[in-house]
Amino acid sequence: MQQFWQNLSVISTEHFLILGVVLFAIGVFGVFLRRNALITLMSIELILNAANLTLLAFARAQQDMRGQALALLVIAVAAAEAAIGLAIVVGVFRNRHNTNLDDLTLLRY
């Protein structure tokens, strides 16, 4: 028991990595399983954040600032992508008056 609490009090890089994997998995589930386009976009942001987290964990482990710089760039890109994505959603909504991804099946045979 003591050992358990002992173990819990030492946080290593692996902990952050596992957390990143978990968040990533949750985000991917969100993209798969929700019908609403907006939720999908939010899940994508979640995925990006998970990746950022992993990136920063490794940067910390290596004492390398480049990881942080890269993470900053990722945030900027994510912002741009969110803007565009939302603009598209708005455009789609105007035509169809709903945001169901199930209905957006034009890219088919």
């Binding site: 946080i11 902990h15 990595l17 798969f32 939720i39 803007a83 603009a87």
Partner: protein, 232 residues
């Protein structure tokens, strides 16, 4: 639900991680002030927030959960000595992007009929299975006894994670990506405006629900762009 499954597996992994952690060689002693329990609380907060984002029916509820997730993540960034990034995370993500989402949700004022995508059970099973496998395998890989990569130097040096050192990087070695990102953001702004603007000729007198305000998107964009230009 799937979410619970993944949560339980992740907890299992964390347990395993704890077990392997007999050797305290790769320890991450955060700078004195933040004890280990901070990590656990924040990670729980983050995971719960994420789960609730994807599971809630109410759109605004989902957005709020997302904001909570982002706060959690920002705090975790701080734990990782990425202070500047934590601030940016809050400003950009929680502050600008989520606001943007809220605006759009206000515009698209619809209620969800059935939140879950219709899909054949086969596909769902396949997807879930692969995802779980992927996650487990990745975790296993990360936990495998390999020396070197995950060793830390213990206490990070004073310069690590400060605004000064990030600035130093961005204005010397990362100058080109920095400028390129600015251009990217400009393009995004223009793109968003173009994509979301009203078409010139209306087909009928009523355009149900269509009261788009390109300017609102533009404002949101500008805010987002300005925020990330904050380090400019």
């Amino acid at each position: 639900m799937m979410g619970l499954g993944s949560v339980s597996s992740s907890l299992l992994l964390l347990g395993q991680a704890a077990q392997v952690q007999q050797v305290p060689a790769a320890s991450l002693s955060v700078q004195g002030m933040a004890p280990a329990w901070a990590f656990w609380i924040l990670s729980v907060l983050t995971v719960v927030g994420a789960l609730s984002t994807i599971l809630r029916r109410n759109l605004i509820g989902a957005v709020m959960s997302m904001v909570a997730t982002f706060f959690g993540i920002a705090s975790l960034y701080a734990l990782l000595s990425a202070h500047f990034l934590a601030a940016i995370q809050v400003l950009v993500y929680a502050g600008a992007i989520m606001v943007l989402f809220v605006f759009v949700i206000m515009v698209l004022n619809r209620e969800e009929a059935e939140p879950w995508a219709l899909r054949s059970p086969v596909i769902k099973a396949l997807g879930t299975g692969s995802l779980v496998y992927l996650a487990v395998r990745l975790g296993e890989m990360l936990l495998s006894p390999k020396a070197g990569v995950l060793q830390t130097a213990g206490h990070p040096s004073g310069e690590y994670g400060t605004v000064a050192s990030i600035g130093d990087y961005f204005f010397t070695k990362f100058l080109f990506p920095f400028e390129a990102i600015s251009i990217l953001l400009v393009i995004a702004v223009i793109g968003a405006v173009v994509l979301a603007r009203t078409v010139a000729k209306p087909t009928s007198v009523h355009e149900a629900g269509a009261a788009p305000l390109p300017s609102s998107n533009g404002d949101g964009d500008d805010a987002a762009a300005d925020a990330s230009h904050g380090g400019h």
